[in-house]
């Protein structure tokens, strides 16, 4: 018998992974959670059938969502993480001894419980003292926050299902309010390649730029996400991710990373023309 997991990237495009076995499947209060094991990617899990995290390449996403803002402002002390139930984003953040507090707000406690059981690779640091877990709606959580975080990372699912509220104008406005005067907002920004995702990207981008004076988009190669061309949004009140990058300061920390480095930090903001056009940026 052969078992294959298939994700429909568009109506006309499928990505399939041969699976050794299904380790767990359940319908939580919010979504369907499946945990699978494969030779090529190790263990991986999906939410409502969409790929979230694989053991093989989670380092790419987590490197890029954490080290880009941290290398831009090494004085970040208070961080809010929204989503990110697998724990990978928190794991990377805890490598910075200078961070004092990490609040993580995940709507679905079952994702965290299951990742603790099946993905120690990403969930290992969730019990650290600096980490506070909140199982509630991120959209509501940020409503009451003001001038509290130096960095907000939105590590959400796609803008449908439980993640939908995290792509609204109200949410981005509240993030702005919750950030300190030199705060940074980083969010997963979908893909530019297939129309469906590109429209989500454009819609998120248009809303964020209404609030923040500095807005940039950067890219990474994440082969298990649709098209493998994935974007992150970098919105900021003060720091520019390239002009303010202090590569020496970051390199002196001596963090070993499998994807991120400070040359790549600069390089990943250089977008293809068709992506710049989608974002409404002028093309040089």
């Amino acid at each position: 018998m052969e078992l294959w997991y298939t994700e429909q990237h568009t109506d006309d495009v499928r990505f399939s992974i041969k699976v050794d076995r299904e380790l767990h499947s359940e319908q939580s209060k919010f979504q369907r959670i499946d945990i699978l094991e494969s030779k090529e990617f190790g263990k991986f899990f999906t939410l409502d059938g969409l790929m979230m995290v694989t053991e093989k390449d989670e380092f790419i996403y987590h490197d890029m969502i954490v080290h880009v803002p941290m290398a831009t402002n090494p004085n970040i002390k208070k961080v809010l993480v929204i989503g990110a139930g697998d724990g990978g984003t928190v794991r990377e953040l805890t490598r910075y001894k200078t961070i004092e507090k990490i609040d993580m707000v995940e709507i679905d406690e079952r994702v965290v419980e299951l990742c603790r059981e099946y993905f120690p690779q990403t969930a290992s640091q969730l019990d650290e003292e600096r980490v506070n877990l909140f199982f509630e709606d991120g959209l509501k959580f940020v409503r009451n926050k003001e001038n509290e975080y130096d960095l907000i990372i939105v590590d959400s699912t796609d803008p449908f299902g439980p993640g939908e509220g995290l792509f609204t104008k109200e949410f981005y406005g509240n993030c702005y309010k919750a950030l300190t005067d030199d705060g940074i907002l980083v969010n997963q920004h979908e893909s530019p390649y297939y129309d469906y995702y590109a429209r989500s990207m454009q819609s998120a981008h248009e809303k964020i730029v209404e609030f923040f004076p500095i807005n940039r988009v950067y890219q990474a190669h994440i082969p298990t996400y649709p098209s493998g061309h994935w974007l992150f949004g970098f919105a900021s009140k003060k720091y520019d991710p390239i002009n303010d990058l202090n590569a020496d300061a970051w390199n002196i920390l001596g963090l070993k990373t499998k994807y991120y480095n400070t040359d790549l930090h600069v390089g990943c903001f250089a977008l293809p023309n068709y992506v710049k056009e989608l974002l409404g940026e002028n093309i040089k």
Copy 2:
């Protein structure tokens, strides 16, 4: 009825495209050629079942294989293209009025004939006066050339089947000899992500660095190739692709490109740490 084209990216990973219809299929003297039509990618063709060119995203590959060397040395006058039967590489080259001669060596004349018929989008410039077509083995063609080309572009299939000879030490050595004193060799360099392709990449890289004093690798997002993370090799006798890039000179040409721009030119050489490790480069 549904018709799906499936490429096996590894034994355990499949990429599938819904197909409207098959336009043509034949076994040439060298390989099986299939031409298909799809909604998502327009027309595309495969050689021995492997994706070569789609109407939707051929611009990415062709931008990156041509404009990176051309922007590094705008004085390139004589170019040798090996493989590239679809014509896309030649199309991009002919946009430079300063190029005097383009020799294109494609082993399989049927690929060119079929692309003329089905892919005018890429094959449109193959009849230009400056273009000379040779239907023979690229490996043999370069054996007799000395100090003749300013740029050699190896736009080959993967290193198995008819493309195999284009990944040998003998071939790279002959390319070195065929190049002028400031010559550049660019080749498609496979992907770093799946072991099978990564080994091809390493093997090609190890052989090329034995001949050329300057060796760099750059990357692009090509979603229809395995993993979507595709590499190109840049080997050179004199010009460094970053230090010698004259962005102003290139931008003044006014070429409209959908992927390439001179910021991306610099950015695409910033590789992830795991790729640098595979290439044996020290990690900063």
